[in-house]
Symmetry: C2
Subunit: 329 residues, 2 copies
């Protein structure tokens, strides 16, 4: 393997000079830059990132912590978009990435997790979909031993940024559109998890709308489960004018239930997963650019690692209507 030493020899300069050029330090003459660049070119040198990580505590090694929904795999198109978005951007920024799933450290303590990450020379972390009950991850963030970006949770501190869309506003918008299109008054709202970060925000959005439009809203928790949404719909939808769901999967469950009950009620979802195109009925939903959110998170992490303070980053959402014709290709 061709190393920095070979480059130095080939260019007729010192090893440390090569390193400085490579990491564009100040105080290097133009001539050195040129000579080193040429040597790098001629030898096809690619710096060994493992060695860099070992030698420098500030070399960027990033861990992706992903909450894989073990049951509802269908929704996992989101996970993959997160992963590919993050890795793609990381490559651009010259950061190394390792990927971990929540279930892999289910019975580990915060300390164990921290030690594991340290043993991998990790300095930055992106966490996708942490819930309020995840003590271990909360401990991880609170420890501030790593720079963190948290997607879909309002965890912010000196070294932690949060990235998400305005779920409250998005829920308000999509519900409003659906409800006004159909002139509804009595709403069945199928929420996500009791006490979940995004669930709570979305619920607030629904409540805002209820106030503004003077709606009657019945709220039930569907736990993001298609089956529960189905059951809730079966039970309560009859004397309602519309069913607003806090996720696409639940919207699908609700829609299927309505079809079976042989009654029509407008339904809207949240997330914009492809699956929505396959259920036969069109529905309004909120589109999120998951890959884009993940890329942005990686950029934010980069900023944190270069000394910026943690903050809130707000991403855009869109209102979409998914139908089969738009999905197929």
């Amino acid at each position: 393997m061709i190393s920095i030493k070979d480059v130095a020899k080939h260019a007729g300069v010192a090893i440390s000079t090569v390193s400085k050029v490579l990491n564009n330090y100040p105080n290097v003459s133009e001539e050195m830059k040129v000579r080193v660049a040429r040597a790098v070119e001629e030898l096809n040198f690619v710096p060994n990132s493992v060695a860099a990580a070992l030698s420098s505590k500030q070399a960027g090694r990033v861990a992706l912590l992903i909450n894989l929904n073990e049951k509802t795999q269908a929704i996992d198109e989101i996970g993959l978009q997160y992963i590919s978005g993050a890795i793609n951007k990381a490559m651009e920024l010259n950061l190394d990435v390792i990927t971990l799933f929540f279930f892999m450290f289910k019975n580990k303590t915060t300390e164990e997790l921290i030690r594991y990450l340290q043993s991998q020379s990790i300095t930055g972390i992106i966490i996708y979909g942490v819930s309020k009950e995840d003590k271990v991850l909360h401990g991880l963030v609170a420890s501030q031993k790593f720079k963190c970006v948290v997607v879909d949770a309002p965890l912010v501190n000196e070294s932690t940024s949060s990235v998400w869309i305005d779920h409250r506003r998005a829920q308000y918008d999509v519900a409003k559109k659906t409800i006004e299109e159909n002139n509804c008054k009595r709403i069945l709202y199928i929420a996500g998890k009791r006490n979940g970060y995004v669930s709570d925000e979305r619920l607030k959005g629904m409540e805002d709308l209820a106030k503004d439009l003077e709606l009657t809203v019945m709220v039930r928790n569907g736990e993001f489960s298609e089956l529960q949404a189905r059951n809730i719909t079966m039970r309560y939808a009859k004397n309602k004018d519309a069913v607003v769901c806090a996720s696409d999967l639940m919207a699908i469950g609700a829609m299927k239930a309505l079809t079976e009950m042989d009654i029509f009620r407008p339904v809207c979802g949240f997330d914009g997963i492809i699956l929505m195109g396959y259920v036969g009925k069109q529905m309004n939903t909120v589109g999120q650019d998951f890959a884009g959110i993940s890329q942005r998170s990686m950029e934010e992490l980069q900023l944190l690692m270069s000394g910026e303070k943690g903050r809130n980053v707000q991403m855009e959402h869109t209102l979409i209507r998914m139908k089969y014709e738009d999905i197929i290709c």
Copy 2:
């Protein structure tokens, strides 16, 4: 960070002794093992894998190369299962993993890719879904600079193993079941990619069956595209008795087309993706345990890295019938 040096001091032994115990070398006394183990325990020591990778060329760092279908994201539930299966097993085996997607090195040469992997101290690779035209990846495998496991392609050499199900047999089985259930003679077979590894195998399976059951088979290439399958079905299905598709996505396209044409023909797919449960009609398909295949691939890679020779590994498949009731949760 607590290092091997601290452990050595704490245990009152030499650094190298600790290392030997950790990597269970022969020729270490029981007493040493115990003392080191206790020190490790008491200090909560976790070896730094980056340092290990740097110092030893045989420390296992593995790269996952994944062919993300940019268009038909729906099918990507497979990609995520591959990833999580591999990473999960890797953690068990104490291997480090980085994940890369084909599109990230689309315009790189084999040499550039090799250098990149070397710069990451990668020694083992798992490649998912390489096609016959992927010159770069073929070069990578042929170079034998890394231990490789290739999923769904028959690339085997001294340091390369292949892992896949018996696609030929599976296609035979699922088509036979579907055809016999409905007593069909004239078959429309929608194949995958012309000249694709799995496509060719599956096509052979169909041909075997045609011979055995004396069927008339019309073959068209659907390029694994739902839309093309739809168009092909529209055009040719009318005077056929059944539509056999080389993938679930194409089966869905075919089924939707049939519904629109308002004619019934039995359709079968291949892969067993969740999406199949959402299209309203039940279909026979081939179930593959993608996570299991990926885990097995990682184990195989482990064997290769410890000196075994490359070989063919055959995985199991199942025949399933996907319906909504089985999917929902």
